[in-house]
Amino acid sequence: MKEGYREVDISSNTEIAKDIFELKVQLESNDSLGDPGQFYMFRSWDFDPLLSRPFSICNIEGNVVTFLYKIVGRGTNYLSKLKPKDKLKVLGPLGNGFNLNVNGKAALISGGIGIPPMIYLAKKLSTEIYFYAGFTNEVYYMDYVQKYVNKIYITTEDGSTGQKGFITDIFRPEKYDVVFTCGPSPMMKKVVEKCENMIPVFVSMESIMACGMGACLGCSIKTKSGMKRVCKEGPVFEGREVFFDD
């Protein structure tokens, strides 16, 4: 049996860039706390908002799981108010996660707050890693990532750090054996297009989720092999399996 929602303690909840928070929670579990690409559902409220909110694992050290989140609405705003020792209810780990069994040169490409699963993936992959990270302006977590990767490429939209522009402008697929990406849908679309049919590419999809555990079909997306639930068969899919619409 899996545990349902469990109340966990917050270790820290810090704003590391404007509206971007790093949240560490203390979990207790005999089972795995999760793999790169997996996520947890959060709730720190009763009925308002009604639904829980999904967040990807950014790191795990011992029993401490780290998340990064951006304030975009009411749920994330509530989260940002939590202080150490406050309680949070979490369900997870959920979803599939990335295939870690890869060889050769891997490109990890993140856009905006799509970065958390790429960070944990960088830590967990045991192959050559080239980390592409696109930010709006403020850059964060690159010191940490540094330790695990061969090279970091950064873009910012305002050019304040790294190259000015989007990360997909500088990503050149030719030299890689496998590509992983997480970020806004148009960005992932571009990454997949750039990889053409040459390189295996894995994407972590987003979708509005009600349950996070496969029951509501709210998160379903169309793939080349039928309808799939982002929360259950995903969030990681083979990039050419999915359709990016926008």
Binding site: D48, L91, A210, C211, A215, C216, L217, G218, S220, M227
Partner: protein
Amino acid sequence: MIDTKVKIAGVEFKNPVIAASGTFGFGREFLEYFPISKLGGLSTKGLTLREREGNKGVRIHETIGGIMNSIGLQNPGIDAFIVEELPFLNSQDTVIIANVSGNTIEEYVISVEKLNQTEIDMIELNISCPNVKEGGISFGTKAEIASNVVTQVRKVCQKPLIVKLSPSAENIVEMAESCVEAGADALSLVNTFPALAIDISKKKAIFDNITAGLSGPCIKPIALRMVYEVSKAVDVPVIGIGGIMDYRDVIEYIMAGAWAVQVGTANFINPNACAEIIEGIEEYLQKEGISTLEEIRGII
């Protein structure tokens, strides 16, 4: 000794808590969290004659105290259900209810005929579907139209038949009465409320279909009123649905006249919701010195 058993249309439920259609899949996902044989029953995701991909665009939108959904009956179709899901469901010690949807009377009838051949325990007819032959207005709005589909289905249906009412029925009591007259062994209500939400920055409806179905605690007071009115009017068992979050809500439904209840949206915010509700009911009855649900059913 507390006894939460309830018998509806000859079928015995070990307790009055049924997982609501469309909110519990085919049970597999929940089995990871608790033994689903704890449930009184389980109503499957809405089944249609043929496989459906469901709707495009946004499928879930949160409102204050509720959610709107426009899943569009994504399901594998009756045949695939019978082969791939039913054996698993039948292996679980709980009442299995096939929730059947259709866009024409013929679809309903053929689906039910297929289910007749199986070991499904009961059939729940979802009449909140658009009737394509009548310009898409729901079967569940007008009593005459609902009565017609129930009559046709009853003719072929060899299983106990629950008819699930829509809260947009023009007159919920008349609707209930005519479904019973047409052969329903039990009624369940309510399905989701037709509702609208608009994305003011895009200046468009949130959902591709414009409207979508509202569920969750926000609808409970209205749904409870409907269950109360219908329970008083008909003499078949009524199954209360709408916004149940905890055992107290269930007790309200029972006191309003329901024989059993279905729990929907709550499953999304807590996969153990049904299990916790079942325990809560038992503890409540114990504490209050009530030994059967009959003692409080319709007591208000």
